[in-house]
C-alpha cells in the first residue's frame, strides 16, 4: 500500500482500556500518523465511519446502539478486528449474563443505597439493552482478534505494520496474553 491506511476505532461495551493501550505506543503515535489516517475514533471528532481499511472494535454488545455501530463498521471497513477480551468473549460486562437484566436494573435504580425517585430509566433517548452481553463475532464476521485485557501496545503496532506491509500479522509470545 502506498497510500495511508484509513483506520477507525470505537468502543462498544468496553472500558476504554484497549484504546488506552493503543495510546501507550506513546511517541510512536507520531510515526503511526505517517502511515495511518484516522477516521472515526474517540480521539477525533469524526462521528461516523466511512470507507476504512481497518476498523478496531473494543467491547462487546450490550445495547441496540452497539449493534448499529458494529454493523456500520462492518460495512465500511475492509478488515474488522475484535480488540480485547470484551469484544472477543464479552469480557467482564458479560458477567451480567448470570442474572436477569431486570434484576440488574432493579438493584441499581430501585434498591440502591440512598436512591430517591426510584424508577428504571426508560426515556426514548436511552438504549434498548440486550438481555445478554454478546461477543461481536456473534453478529458480524470478524477478520482478526487481538487478545488481551487489554492487548499490549506493541500488538497494535504489529497489526498496523503488517497490514501496511500486506502481510499476515504475527503475534509473538510476549504480545499474546489473555489478561
Amino acid at each position: 500500500m502506498t497510500q495511508k491506511i484509513r483506520l477507525a476505532t470505537c468502543s462498544l461495551a468496553g472500558c476504554f482500556g484497549c484504546h488506552m493501550s493503543f495510546l501507550d505506543i506513546d511517541e510512536a503515535l507520531i510515526s503511526v500518523a505517517d502511515i495511518v489516517e484516522f477516521d472515526r475514533s474517540p480521539i477525533t471528532d469524526i462521528k461516523h465511519v466511512t470507507n476504512c481499511d481497518i476498523g478496531l472494535i473494543e467491547g462487546g454488545i450490550c445495547n441496540s446502539d452497539n449493534i448499529e455501530v458494529l454493523k456500520e463498521f462492518r460495512e465500511q471497513c475492509k478488515i474488522l478486528v475484535a480488540v480485547g477480551a470484551c469484544a472477543i468473549t464479552g469480557g467482564v460486562p458479560a458477567l451480567r449474563n448470570h442474572f436477569e437484566l431486570k434484576e440488574c436494573l432493579e438493584e441499581v435504580y430501585l434498591k440502591g443505597k440512598g436512591v430517591v425517585n426510584p424508577q428504571i430509566p426508560s426515556d426514548e433517548e436511552l438504549p434498548l439493552l440486550t438481555e445478554k452481553v454478546y461477543p461481536i463475532h456473534e453478529v458480524v464476521k470478524i477478520d482478526y482478534s487481538l487478545p488481551g485485557c487489554p492487548p499490549p501496545a506493541d500488538a497494535f503496532m504489529e497489526l498496523i505494520t503488517a497490514i501496511k506491509q500486506n502481510r499476515e500479522p504475527k503475534l509473538e509470545y510476549a504480545l499474546r496474553h489473555f489478561d
Binding site: S11, A13, V92, C104, E124, L128, V139, P150
Partner: protein, 483 residues
C-alpha cells in the same frame, strides 16, 4: 449531527460526544425558530456492576472492578482495595504498602490528567472551539505544536511507567491485596523512574503555565463559557491540605465558605443521596441537607483546588496561590478545571519525587491482617473526583451488596447545566453549525467526564430490538415496555 423533527419541535443530537473518555450523547430540543427548549447530556450506558459482583468472593473485587474503566483503573482498584482493607479489619497499612499504593495513585492521576488535557482537550484550546473538525485531534496538535504534543505524550508515559513498574501492567495490573500490596519496588525500577524526574518536573511546570496562559488568553470568554455556580465536595487531610488518596470530606458553598468539614467518608450515605431521572442511566447525587434542587455540587480538580487550604508540595502550592488570587477565592468557571487539573498534575510529580526518595517503597512488610468485618467503604480522589466503593459481605466472604458512586456521576447536574448554558449562548435562535455543537462538547470536556465509568452512545432508537447473528438466527429481543 442529526436533526430530526419531533412533535415538540426540532431535535438535534450530538452522538457520540467525542474526545471524552467514553461515550455520551447530547440532545437539544428546539422550536421552529431554533429557540432552545431543553438540553440534556444523556449517559446511556448501563452495566449493572452492583448486581453482577454479588456472590463473588471479596478477594476478586479489586481486580474485577477496575474493568469498569480503562482510563482510571487504578482508582477503582484502590477504592475497592481500601474498602476491602476494612473487610479484613486493617485500618492502617504498613508504611511500605501505603506508600506503594500512593505512588501508584499519583502515577495514575498524573497520566490521566495529561491524557485529558493534552490528548483530548488541547485541540479545542489551541485551534479554537469552532476550528475545522479534521484538525481537532492530538495528531494535528503534534504537527502544529510539536513541543506541546510531545510533552503531553511524555508526561502520560511517565505516569503509565510508574503504574507498570508497580502493578506489572500499564492497564489493569494488580498490586493491592486485602490488607496491603503483593510486592514493593526494586532498586533498579526505582532508579529508572528517578532518572526521569528532572525532566518530568520541568514538563509539569510547563503544563501549568500552558493551561494558565491558554485560559488567560481569552479570559472574558473563557470565564463566561458554560458558567454555573455550585458548591464543591472533595477530600482534604486533617489540616485542610489537598489530599488524593485518603482524607475526610469537605464541602464548600458557592461563595467559597466551608459548609461542612472533616466529614467521615465512612458515613457518606448520611449526607449524600442520589436521584434517578428517567432520561439517564447516570444518577444525580445531592447533599441530603440541601435537598434535590439546591444540593448538587461539583467534584474533581476544580473542587479540590477550591476546597483545600494549601498544597503540601511547594511548586504546586505556588501555582495554587496564583490560581486562587486570580479568582479572588473560589473559581466557578468550568474552563478553569483545566488550569486546576495541571496544578494537580504538578503536585503528583512532586509527590512522586518525594516517594521515590523514600526507602519504604523498597520495604518488604507488605500485608497486615485484622479482625474480619462485614462492611467496608473505600473513598478516594480519582482524577475526576471523589469515588466511593461500598461493599457488604456474608459469613462466607461473598459479596452481598455493593454500592458505587463514581466521580463523573457527581458532576452530572453540573455538566447538564453547563451544556444548557452553552447551548443558550451558541445555539439558541441561531443557525446550527458543527462548530457550534463542538462548543457544547468543549463544556463537557472541561469536566473530563469518564463516561466510560458510566456509558455507551446511542443512535436511532428503535422501540423494538431484534438481534440476529450473521446467519440470520434471532439472538435477542427487547421492547421498551419490557421494563
Amino acid at each position: 449531527m442529526k436533526i430530526s423533527n419531533k412533535k415538540t419541535g426540532k431535535r438535534v443530537v450530538i452522538d457520540p460526544v467525542s474526545r471524552v473518555e467514553g461515550h455520551g450523547k447530547v440532545t437539544l430540543l428546539l422550536d421552529e425558530n431554533n429557540r432552545l427548549q431543553e438540553a440534556r447530556l444523556h449517559i446511556v450506558e448501563f452495566r449493572g456492576f452492583e448486581k453482577f459482583i454479588e456472590g463473588r468472593p471479596y478477594e476478586e473485587v479489586a481486580v474485577l472492578v477496575q474493568r469498569l474503566c480503562g482510563i482510571c483503573p487504578v482508582s477503582h482498584h484502590l477504592a475497592a482495595a481500601k474498602a476491602i482493607d476494612q473487610l479484613v479489619g486493617v485500618n492502617q497499612l504498613t508504611p511500605t504498602a501505603e506508600k506503594i499504593r500512593r505512588l501508584l495513585h499519583y502515577g495514575q492521576v498524573l497520566q490521566s490528567h495529561a491524557l485529558h488535557f493534552f490528548h483530548l482537550s488541547s485541540p479545542d484550546l489551541l485551534f479554537g472551539f469552532e476550528s475545522d473538525l479534521h484538525r481537532r485531534n492530538i495528531i494535528e496538535v503534534i504537527k502544529d505544536f510539536p513541543d506541546i504534543g510531545r510533552q503531553g505524550i511524555q508526561l502520560r508515559k511517565f505516569g503509565q511507567d510508574i503504574i507498570q513498574a508497580i502493578s506489572g501492567k500499564k492497564i489493569h495490573g494488580v498490586i493491592a491485596v486485602p490488607g496491603g500490596v503483593n510486592r514493593s519496588l526494586d532498586i533498579s525500577q526505582r532508579d529508572t523512574l528517578r532518572a526521569q524526574l528532572p525532566d518530568v518536573l520541568e514538563k509539569s511546570q510547563k503544563a501549568v503555565a500552558i493551561s494558565r496562559d491558554l485560559y488567560l488568553s481569552n479570559i472574558e470568554m473563557h470565564q463566561r463559557f458554560g458558567f454555573i455556580e455550585s458548591s464543591f465536595l472533595g477530600l482534604v487531610d486533617s489540616k485542610g491540605a489537598l489530599e488524593l488518596y485518603d482524607g475526610n470530606i469537605r464541602i464548600k458553598d458557592q461563595e467559597g465558605n466551608i459548609f461542612q468539614d472533616q466529614l467521615d467518608d465512612n458515613h457518606y450515605f448520611d449526607y449524600i443521596q442520589e436521584e434517578v431521572r428517567s432520561w439517564s442511566y447516570m444518577k444525580f447525587p445531592f447533599l441530603s441537607d440541601l435537598g434535590i434542587e439546591k444540593g448538587w455540587y461539583r467534584v474533581g480538580p476544580l473542587a479540590r483546588i477550591n476546597n483545600c487550604d494549601f498544597i503540601s508540595t511547594p511548586l504546586a502550592e505556588k501555582a495554587r496561590q496564583e490560581f486562587i488570587q486570580f479568582h479572588h477565592g473560589v473559581a466557578q468557571a468550568p474552563l478553569a478545571y483545566h488550569w486546576a487539573r495541571m496544578i494537580e498534575l504538578l503536585h503528583c510529580a512532586e509527590q512522586i519525587e518525594t516517594l521515590l526518595q523514600d526507602e519504604d517503597i523498597l520495604g518488604n512488610e507488605l500485608i497486615l491482617k485484622g479482625k474480619a468485618q462485614q462492611e467496608g467503604i473505600g473513598v478516594i480522589e480519582a482524577p475526576r473526583g471523589t469515588l466511593i466503593h461500598h461493599y457488604k459481605i456474608d459469613d462466607e466472604g461473598l459479596i452481598e451488596k455493593a454500592n458505587l458512586i463514581v466521580s463523573t456521576t457527581q458532576n452530572n447536574q453540573a455538566m447538564n447545566d453547563s451544556v444548557r448554558e452553552v447551548a443558550q449562548e451558541y445555539i439558541d435562535g441561531q443557525e446550527i453549525t458543527e462548530g457550534a455543537l463542538n462548543q457544547i462538547e468543549v463544556a463537557i470536556r472541561a469536566y473530563d467526564p469518564c463516561l466510560s465509568c458510566a456509558t455507551h452512545a446511542m443512535g436511532k432508537m428503535p422501540l423494538k430490538l431484534e438481534l440476529f447473528d450473521h446467519q440470520g438466527l434471532l439472538l435477542d429481543t427487547k421492547t421498551k415496555s419490557g421494563f
